[in-house]
Amino acid sequence: MIPGAFAYHRPSSIAEAVGLLTQLGEDARPLAGGHSLIPMMKLRVASPAHLIDLGGVADLKGISLDGPDAVIGAMTTQHDLIGSGLLVEKLPILHETSLLIADPQVRYLGTLGGNVANGDPGNDMPAVMMCLGASYQVAGPNGARNIPARDFYHGAYFTALEPGEIVTAIRIPVPPAGHGYAYEKLKRKVGDYATAAAAVILTMHGGTVATCSIGLTNVAETPLWAEDAANIVTGSTLDDATVKKAVAAAEAITAPAADSRGPVQYRTKMAGVMVARALARAKARATA
């Protein structure tokens, strides 16, 4: 399959990339790892007249700590995330989630920025970022701004990004040392999008849940932040009755599509099962 013709641009700075996107308008698309966009171009579902390859912008790469936050450049690949000792220590949920994305070859090129900015409800990182309370640093023709992940997703492939804007970095508040975490993903096979998946970050205090946040992947038009479900388990020991109530609250906000991954009822129930499993595993891992 051969994509439609396009003009190729390779800016070396964020300002240059934003300038090109603004000047070329709707006919231009930014290219990150390309593993969502290039397959769409080969199928001619997408036919941008201009591709702005962000691979040459050094400022979009890297993982660092900035005070209480981890800051990850948008062009950092999933392979880089897996190999980061800093993230294994501070944000192990990113290591766990990255290993469940696609396959090794895709992870060498697929980027965190592309994963969160594309707006594909099947992508895994958006729900994790909502769970973590992350925000996206954005650059555009009107300057830089910060968009909370929880406000970013408006519909399938519809996000808060304005024309000419790109995500430049992801800023994540580092959870307290000893926190529990889990990303539970049900998929039919390696490389598949989730039938349903759940991210959990929690802290325990004296056997009860002190804080909890839950995100859901691929069970609605957008990733979901399951605030009610998290509130239900906060203060509990994660006893069966409470978990059951939280699962019901999480299932209540889902609206999955019926597709080859299963009918609506099945995917809704699986979202609940993933929540219960993620809560149990996060609790087992919490040491504080």
């Binding site: 013709a5 390859d53 396959d103």
Partner: protein, 166 residues
């Protein structure tokens, strides 16, 4: 559409070419450089038959544009054998352990395993299966591919290969 000038290293040789931006790396390798080892299997980023090594990363060359590889160092299956022409330990391992039947996936399998063994020189069977999860084989059931990679790992580590008990 304006063509782009690219220069890259493929199997140790410097190559310069003028390519249309939309030309995929797999088409560039197969049709312009006549390197037909990397195969086009699914053409949808699933099967891994087109896997090549690009700047130390295993990539599916059906999902990379040739222009993106400007300046890159690429190795294909044609560049895996030892400089004296003898087989690489992986090629030997696949032959000795019957790691192929029809052979269509083999160039991608070996090229992927080449990078895997550099990152993890002594993998467990499970780590091999996880590491080649982006490469599909419809013949072997993978058992002998895993053995072939273990054979190569042992040879590269200078130890005797012992088949695990079934």
């Amino acid at each position: 559409m304006a063509k782009s000038q690219i220069a890259l290293t493929v199997n140790g040789r410097t190559e310069e070419a003028l390519v249309e931006p939309r030309m995929l790396l797999i088409h560039f390798l197969r049709e312009q450089l006549n390197l037909t080892g990397p195969h086009i299997g699914c053409d949808t980023t699933h099967c891994g038959a087109c896997t090549v090594d690009l700047d130390g990363k295993s990539v599916k060359s059906c999902t990379v544009f040739a222009v993106q590889a400007n300046g890159a160092d690429i190795r294909t299956i044609e560049g895996i054998a030892n400089p004296d022409g003898t087989l690489h330990a992986l090629q030997e391992g696949f032959r000795e352990m019957h790691g192929l039947q029809c052979g269509f996936c083999t160039p991608g399998m070996i090229t992927r395993a080449y990078r895997l063994l550099q990152e993890n020189p002594s993998p467990t069977d499970e780590e091999i299966r996880f590491g080649i999860a982006g490469n599909l084989c419809r013949c072997t059931g993978y058992q002998n591919i895993v053995k072939g990679i273990q054979y190569a790992a042992a040879k590269l580590n200078g130890v005797r290969f012992q088949e695990a008990a079934e």
